[in-house]
Structure formats: structure tokens, C-alpha cells
Symmetry: C2
């Protein structure tokens, strides 16, 4: 094998990794050309700009993320769990381009009768690149993912809409109108209070209104509302998931958000959270899956 | 006593009841002049229009609702629970006007150290007018209220942001973009499925994303998303509250919303839900409190 080109192509970003034959990243490039910016299906042209100079030796190109969605280049159907890198490699959608042969990694699905369905696209690559064989992987964010790994296979996962709930409530609900300073959410006692409340009471829709009530009653300042709301939502997510989170917990995510989750994990009695850099996990995952493509 | 004038003055509506000396409503009037429409503090003028011809015998005027809030005519401080009609009457904010003496009913608060705070304003009057001495009163809506009555006293309550969550998620989240027909929420299997899921799993922030996932996986049609979301949120509210809802359950609310809650209560094993008309409960509550004002 002469190496590989790995592409993480999400809604708002495009990142490329050039691997040598041993899986070492020898060059990386970043572009703001997420799939939401691509007009007239110009995926190949945009990709060509990103990987310029990388394609001389016809390395295979492995792509993960929303590029495989309905709004992407080609739709790669979700692979049901459990799945490992070999299964994902076998399920990649391969097609020839002027840049070389491309392989889109499918997303993963939980699709069992009687259970809530779930999907991910892109996160499976980060999860398999985190260097964990057994344990829980947590990817905090707009749609937080909690995945279970057993012997290197993703056996299942759940999504919490924590980040999106936070954003829509702060922007569009009564609670947002109370929150004088949304930027204040990272500091102050409001966050810990929210986490502790939600850990004690999993019904978050019954806790949200307390933000308003306590401002009216004088127990919470308007400057604390955003932090308190963030704490309620993150606390509810962790409270709901931690009971079934056996074994090690590894977080992949940006440092500021991971720090907030780490505080909340601590309040839930879990100090032992491992952190993995998201960019490194993506690169390692693209290599891990890509090297299995036959 | 020569009777009473009862006023329910909310954010978007204004309703008046003229009572005879026995508490019978002899006339009722409705106006769209909620407090949100009042400019330059013209509360007395707007009230004067509503009660024209009613004030000749100088009956006391009792007002409940947002009229006693910070954005209303005069702010009446929340009365902490437990509270009964006599306590509310004693806590009314009285002041003289050209229309006669006005008495604003305070809202109620739950304000105990270490517990989530809660407030209501207007609902206390409906709750005390529902004709229930012991049991649970449920007022479904934007901010659903669950109150406990013991021997005619409101001993405590909790608010679920169910209706507001539904509205902001449908209008502003990813889920709303999936819901092709928000008007379809009252029909179809999506509602019951959402209720059952939420009753089985109280962590609603972990269930919301299943609406998106199941549309992508083909298990839910876009037309079912709004009903499913409504079911998840109502099911989560009922699931969280029903465990501590001992005794009779009485609902006060508009018929369409009450019917949806009744379906959800049935799925939770409670078929025995009493229904009380909201307008009648408001009138009875205004009389019940007003006749105790000294």
C-alpha cells in the first residue's frame, strides 16, 4: 500500500489527511468548504483543490462524514450496529473519479424493533480512531453521542440533543429572554447547580422552568441563567447515560465543551474521564477503516 | 355583600365576570386586551371599557393573572405554598380606582432551599375554582402546571415546559425541518408511539433525536414527526409526574389539548381523569377568593 488520503467532510468543514504507508499523517489541510457550501454538486472540484499535489501516486481516498448523506456527494446507507473497522471498510461506497478511487464510509445506525432508532455519520470514524477497544466514547456537541465499544466493535450508541436544545432554548424560548449574558455560561455557580439538579431528577422538561422561577424569586441572577440551563441539559444527559456506562469513559471533543462535561462528570462521581483530541481521532479512524478497504 | 366583579387578565386575553351576591355569574365579557397590548399603563381605562355598566353599585373588583406581574398594573408578590383561598384573599394587593376598589390576587411560589423554585400566576385561581379539595390538578399548556390540593389548600406544584418546548423545537430545531405537516400532530400513530417511548424512558433529551433518526431509517414518516414529538414531550411530563400523583387527577384546559393528554394518561394506565372547563374554573376561583377579601 502506498498510503492513503483521508477526508473528513462535514456540513461546515472539510479536512484532509495525507497518510504514508504506515498510517502516519504527513500533511493535513483544512478548508471551510463543508457540504452546505457546495453548489451544483461540485464535490469533485472542491476536493481536487484540497488534495492538490497529493494524488500523483493514485492513493485511495477515504471520506467520512456528511459527504455520505442525502445532501452529500453520494448517499452511503447506514450500517447497523454492531460494526467494526473491517465491516465499515467492506460497506464503503466506492466510485472512480479523476482524483482516484473514492470510498465513502457509511454512517452507523441503531435500528431495532421497539427501540428508539438512532444514527450517526462521521462520529463512527472518530470513535474507531480513539484508540479504545472496550469502554464508552462520549462526543459532546449539538447532538452528543454516547457509544459503547466492545473488543473494538461499536455495539450501540445513543444521541442526546443537548447542544441543540441549549441553543434553541437560549435563542427562542422564554428562558433566553431572561438570560442577560449568554456568554457568561462558562463561569459562575449556575452551571454546577444546574448539573446537580438534573442529576437528582432526570425529567429535564420539569426543571427548565425553574430557571425562570428562580430569577423571579431572586435565587438566580439573569447572568447565571445560561450557565444554569447548560448545567441542566448536560446534567440530564450524563444522568441518563451514566448508569449504563460501564467501564472506562473517553471523551472526544473541543477543549471548552469537554471541560464543562468533565466538571459535570465529576459532580456525577466520575473523575476518571479520558480525553482524546478530535482531529487526531478523525485521522486515526480514517486510517483504521481505510487500510481495511480491499 | 352585593356581589363581585372578577377579572382574569392574562398576557393575551382579558375576561370579566359579574357575580351576584350568591356567586352566580350573571354576565361575562371577553376582550383581546391582554396586558401585552396595554400601552402607557392604560390598565384602568381598558378595564373601565370592559366593565362598563357593572360598577354602579361599587362592587369590589378581584383580578388574577399576569396583571399582577412585573409587566402588569401593580406587582403582587408571589405567596409561598401552602396556600388556600383565605390566605390568597389576605395577600391580595388592594388599591382604589375610579371603578371601585381593586384587589389583585398574588401568584403562588414554591421557594424552598435546595429544591427547584417554581411560580404560577393566574393558575392558582383556576385550581381553587375547580371544585376539588384533595387531589392533583393538571393544567396542560405552554407551561403545564401540576398542583397538589390537600383539604382545599395548594400544598405544592411543578411546571413542565412542554408546550413551549414543542413550539420551539418544531419552529427552530432540526426536528421541525423534518416535520412536513405540523398540523398532522393530532392524528396518526406517531403520538402514541412518542408517549409510550417517553413513559418507558424519562430522559427526553435522549429521545428527541429518534424523531430524526427514524425518519432517516424509514420507521417514521415526516408527517408523523410533529405528533411523535408532541407524544414524547407529553409522555415525558406525565411519566415524570404520575408516580407522585396520588389520588384523583383533574384536568383544566382547552378540549383539544385535554383530549391529547387524556390519551397519554390512558397509555400511562390512568383512565380516570376528570375534566373541568377552564372558564368555569376561573370564574369559580375568582369568586372563591374574592368572597374572602375583608
Amino acid at each position: 500500500m502506498t498510503g492513503l488520503i483521508g477526508i473528513d467532510w462535514g456540513t461546515s468543514n472539510l479536512r484532509g489527511f495525507r497518510f504514508d504507508a504506515h498510517g502516519t499523517v504527513i500533511e493535513r489541510r483544512v478548508s471551510p468548504r463543508g457540504i452546505a457550501t457546495i453548489e451544483d454538486g461540485a464535490f469533485e472540484a472542491v476536493l481536487g483543490e484540497l488534495v492538490e499535489g497529493w494524488t500523483g501516486d493514485r492513493r485511495p481516498i477515504v471520506l467520512s462524514g456528511m459527504i455520505g448523506s442525502r445532501n452529500g456527494w453520494r448517499e452511503a446507507a447506514y450500517l447497523p450496529c454492531p460494526a467494526d473497522p473491517v465491516a465499515l471498510a467492506a460497506a464503503t461506497l466506492g466510485f472512480d473519479t479523476a482524483l482516484g478511487r473514492c470510498h465513502i464510509v457509511p454512517g452507523l445506525a441503531v435500528d431495532q424493533p421497539g427501540r428508539p432508532g438512532d444514527v450517526m455519520r462521521g462520529e463512527e470514524t472518530q470513535i474507531l480512531g480513539a484508540g479504545v477497544r472496550d469502554g464508552i466514547l462520549v462526543l459532546p456537541g449539538t447532538h452528543s453521542k454516547w457509544a459503547t465499544l466492545e473488543a473494538g466493535r461499536v455495539t450501540g450508541f445513543r444521541t442526546a440533543m443537548t447542544g441543540e436544545l441549549y441553543a434553541v432554548l437560549l435563542r427562542h424560548s422564554l428562558l433566553g429572554r431572561l438570560a442577560e449574558d449568554p456568554g457568561a455560561r462558562d463561569t459562575g455557580a449556575g452551571f454546577a447547580r444546574g448539573v446537580e439538579r438534573a442529576l437528582a431528577d432526570p425529567a429535564v422538561s420539569l426543571l427548565l422552568f425553574s430557571a425562570r422561577a428562580e430569577v423571579l424569586l431572586g435565587g438566580l441572577s439573569p447572568q447565571e441563567v445560561a450557565a444554569y440551563l447548560s448545567g441542566l441539559l448536560i446534567g440530564a444527559e450524563i444522568g441518563a447515560m451514566i448508569g449504563s456506562a460501564h467501564g472506562s469513559i473517553t471523551m472526544i471533543g473541543d477543549p471548552a465543551l469537554s471541560a464543562r462535561y468533565r466538571t459535570a462528570f465529576g459532580l456525577a462521581g466520575r473523575q476518571d474521564i479520558n480525553l482524546v483530541d478530535g482531529d487526531a481521532a478523525t485521522a486515526a479512524g480514517l486510517w483504521t477503516i481505510g487500510k481495511e478497504i480491499r
